[in-house]
């Protein structure tokens, strides 16, 4: 092919992709613009118009969400649940996966099968019994729900850790053991450092799930005590008070999206790499 033709083709493709990526950015921008309108000025007809002097509501919607509706505490609970569950999943599941790959017994293979099986099972299958069990065992608080997340999230984490674990050479661990390390020491001093990229991968996938999960915390958390996560809060704007509140919904959406985009902007490379690595091994 001629070079000019090739170059023109490339430019055309770039232009097409640029146009397409506008479609990926626009919905968020539109919500952003509308979130500055007054509640009563938000209509479906006028959604495409930026706020004018008449419809402009300043930061009113944001004030409502932050001060009156407790976005701050929902953010705190989301952060607490995500952080504790994430640490628990990463530590416990990597230990469990190491044991499963290094010990070849019928029951360790059986356990592996059970974990993989649990990945496919839809949440609706256990939703009623799980929330009942969580309430009975007192696991319905933001600081205890991580046990439930460890149990329900173990499938994916163990499966992925096992996939990577197989490629770690056995000799390193054996050398450590011969040098007098116990299994626990060997794991934390030798295996875990080798596993670092995998920890990042699994951590990213689990965080994407934990931070955004709606139904599990909605059913499990003790809502009468006022515990709620960000997705629960946003859902409550739509049905909680008998009317649809568009202004608060949009401000809530933006307050939810902004931290995500900030984190993404910083760790973009790791996140995309992590997802790709996770999928290839999976």
């Amino acid at each position: 092919m001629d070079r000019p033709v090739k170059r023109a083709k490339g430019a055309l493709l770039t232009a097409l992709l640029a146009l397409l990526s506008l479609a990926w950015v626009y919905p968020v921008v539109m919500i952003f613009l509308n979130s500055f309108k007054e509640e009563r000025a938000i209509t479906t007809q006028g959604a495409f118009q930026p706020p004018t002097a008449e419809t402009f509501g300043g930061l009113g919607n944001y004030r409502e969400v932050l001060v009156e509706r407790g976005f701050g505490s929902a953010f705190g609970y989301s952060l607490l649940i995500t952080a504790t569950s994430l640490v628990l999943i990463l530590v416990c599941c990597s230990m469990c996966a190491w044991f499963i790959t290094r010990v070849s017994a019928w029951w360790s293979r059986g356990l592996y099968f059970l974990f993989v099986f649990s990945m496919v099972v839809p949440f609706q299958m256990v939703m009623f019994t799980l929330s009942a069990a969580a309430n009975r065992l007192g696991l319905d608080k933001p600081w205890t729900i991580c046990v439930i997340y460890l149990g329900f999230g173990a499938g994916l984490a163990v499966f992925m850790f096992c996939g990577f674990m197989k490629s770690i050479p056995l000799e390193v661990e054996e050398a450590a053991m011969i040098d007098g390390c116990g299994p626990v020491q060997t794991f934390f001093r030798v295996v875990l450092p080798i596993l670092k990229p995998t920890l990042v991968s699994v951590g990213i996938l689990e965080t994407m799930w934990l931070w955004n999960d709606y139904l599990l915390p909605y059913l499990v958390l003790d809502r009468t005590a006022g515990y709620q996560t960000i997705p629960m809060l946003i859902q409550s704007f739509q049905q909680g008070f008998g009317r649809v509140e568009m202004g608060t919904t949009m401000a809530g959406i933006i307050l939810n999206v902004v931290p995500i985009i900030l984190v993404y902007a910083i760790g973009q490379k790791h996140i995309i790499k992590g997802v790709a690595a996770g999928a290839v091994k999976g």
Binding site: W24, V25, A47, N212, A279
Partner: protein, 283 residues
């Protein structure tokens, strides 16, 4: 080493195993048992055989949501994977701005289903109003396509990442050899790239099929099953059976539906994995 490690199972396996029993295994077994019972709480259950299943299999709404989910999953899986593969092919051609495009397309995956659902509800309703059509909540056809658009918007980026990784793993020699043999780009794609990409295709099809069948958050936020349960997918139908109705019989029906749903998802995953695995080639 294995012998010493074995003795340490309470340290390595027990915490995860305990949580797994509490968070999955026990509720699963209990759920299986309760699907044969009439119950309002777990303590108050009485065995009533297969009648929950008989009801679930004859309920019109449940069957409707099965077909709705099945058609939605097929359409969205095809759309997502074709678009994602096309974009991945464009982005592996060393164009300018590749990294930026990749980041932008992947972005929606970080936003949760509930939030995505409301973003698109607002946008689509605005478009529908401006063109003088009924809102999403009033027309099942628009609701269906709204869900498809939403899922494409969210998932294309994710599948694209997997396809890009797959394309980059194809050895350069293969492509060079194809070029020397005089293969055009169309032929190179069908004869060289696609066969070597089959592991990625397996994963992407698996993910988009199971995501489609299990879809809940987006469905709840975008259409809530309106109008009149017509856009209610299986997960939402089960949820509404459990929590949306009062009466002693409904929880049993819901649990029976959940067992059927679970079996369906497992069978579909197994069939799909077997079908595409057999088309993979060894490098």
């Amino acid at each position: 080493m294995e012998k010493t490690l074995r003795k340490f199972w309470p340290v390595f396996v027990l915490p995860t195993l305990l949580a797994f029993v509490i968070g999955f295994a026990w509720p699963f077994v209990q759920g299986l048992w309760l699907s044969f019972c009439r119950f309002t709480t777990i303590g108050r259950a009485s065995f009533n055989g297969l009648s929950n299943y008989l009801y679930a299999l004859t309920e019109g709404e449940f069957l409707h949501s099965f077909w709705f989910t099945a058609i939605f999953t097929v359409v969205s899986t095809l759309a997502i994977n074709i678009c994602a593969l096309a974009i991945a092919l464009c982005l592996t051609r060393k164009l300018r701005g590749t990294n930026l495009f990749r980041s932008v397309f992947f972005m929606p995956n970080l936003i949760g289903g509930i939030v995505l659902g409301y973003i698109w509800k607002i946008l689509l309703n605005a478009v529908l109003t401006l063109t003088g059509r009924p809102l999403l909540a009033l027309n099942a056809t628009y609701g269906f396509w709204g869900l498809v658009i939403l899922m494409c918007w969210q998932q294309i980026g994710y599948m694209m990442i997997i396809y890009i990784a797959g394309l980059q793993a194809i050895p350069g020699d293969y492509l060079e050899a194809a070029q020397i043999d005089g293969a055009g780009s169309w032929q190179t794609f069908w004869r060289v790239k696609l066969p070597n990409l089959m592991p990625s295709v397996t994963i992407c099809l698996f993910l988009s099929l199971t995501n489609g069948f299990k879809l809940f958050d987006q469905n709840l936020a975008l259409t809530q099953g309106d109008p009149g349960h017509q856009t209610e997918m299986l997960s939402l139908n089960i949820y509404n059976t459990f929590y949306g109705r009062s009466g002693g019989q409904w929880k049993g029906y819901g649990q029976a539906k959940a067992v059927l749903f679970c079996a369906l998802v497992i069978v579909i995953s197994l069939v799909q994995l077997r079908a595409t695995r057999s088309k993979e080639v060894q490098q």
